[in-house]
Amino acid sequence: MEGDRRSRILGGMSSDARSVTIALASTVVFFAVLVLVITSSPGWPEVKAAFFNREVFSDAFPEVLRAFWLNIKIFCVAEVFILAFALVIAVLRSLPGPVFFPLRALAIVYTDFFRGIPTILLIFILGFGVPALGLSGVPTSALVWATVALIIIYSAYVAEVYRAGIESVHPSQDAAARSLGLSRAQSLRYVVVPQAVRRVVPPLLNDFIGLQKDTALVALIGPVEAFRQAQIDTSATFNFTPYVAAALIFVAFTIPLARLTDWLNERSRRRRLAAGIAP
């Protein structure tokens, strides 16, 4: 009955075209209702003036975008160090045998501790604490130490992602490498880690997205990046629209990363299915 009625309404359409039409219609209806509810609320005129001021937006947007360049620089520098440092921690943690117990313990303590500490606290502690020590030859820039704090925190997360990848490589792969006479380190280097890294690319990108957003925390100890610039503009105009501008810029940067992550996930799922391995 239900099916009959639908096919009469959308008669003659292919099932693909019909799905697209339905998706489009339901999206339009959903957002129309949402906009209606918000704009008909009693406080809407005030909110609109405070957050969505066209003039303030066009003034603030270029400045915030320029400041966002610093977020990108922090992100890129931190990411390179995180990828390398986290791999070292993950490898230390997967070393077998009693001899390596101290290194394993160190890696476990590291990941436990720095996943537990709030990012903002470490940024404050390092950003204000280390320059205050007055050590010669140590950088005193708050920006540098805030970036170091991000590297330390995110390395703990990414190390766990790597470790999951290393543990997902079947032990028979290591056995095959060792049986050829490769040392434990060579087996890790040429056989285990390359397969592990391929498997964890999607979850790694997920952590990239988190890092990209957290570069805004650096603002809290001084450096003028996108969020801080928006704050400055806001206090100058007594209008919150610059925050909206900053939010849009962050979102515009993370959406491609999110789509890429989904695409890679889907691709690896298809490959596993094709290889006959349970997903």
């Binding site: 056995a175 490498a177 049986s179 050829l180 006479g181 490769l182 040392s183 040429y190």
Partner: protein, 250 residues
Amino acid sequence: MSSAPALVLEHVHKSFDKREVLKGIDLSVAEHEVVCLIGASGSGKSTLLRCVNLIEPIDGGRIFVGGREVTKRGLDVNEVRRGIGIVFQSFNLFPHMTVLENVTLGPRKARRLDRAEADAQGVELLRRFGLEDRRSDYPDRLSGGQQQRVAIVRALAMQPQLMLLDEVTSALDPELVAEVLSVIRELAEGGMTMLIATHEMSFAADIASRVCFLDQGVLLEEGRPEEIFRSPSNPRTQEFLRRIIAAGRL
């Protein structure tokens, strides 16, 4: 040519937790000899091979390869393994490497050959076993039989004095078994010393210089294939072979 046997096992014991899998195995394999291990699943055949390759540490006894004790403490296990090739039931090729890279990894990293030399030697071996046109393919593009032949070539590339084959045809579709067995036969004819765990009884009867029957971690009976398969003396061997024949496998 050395006079010492290629492989000697003396009272080898191995347990996993409380379960004793090898209960004092004594076995000697002469150079150029092909010894087949037969027995039910779980009788200890695979464990025995993995112990010889030092993948599994043994709990008691000694193992000699080419007259040298390899179970001594402090010995360089990597150096020992370079001289012993092992092929697994499940191939265990490296999925992120091409066929040629699979074959040359050992020579390049463990024997420190440069790439050109390792490649030349690898291509030559692949050609010998009819796999040269597959050199740039990844393992998942190959049939099971081809994958297992590549695994054999990978082990051979290390120029081992001894090859261990662990039920290398058990994971293959029936129509792919023959191509792998013919490779093994070629190796035997070339004089390769081999210790083979197998369920292929007629192949064992055909190729083995000696057949050993393993039952619950004990080497119950050994002898020339015609003795073991025609007139086994131990009642458990008789029972095992009766079941094999009933299943149409001999």
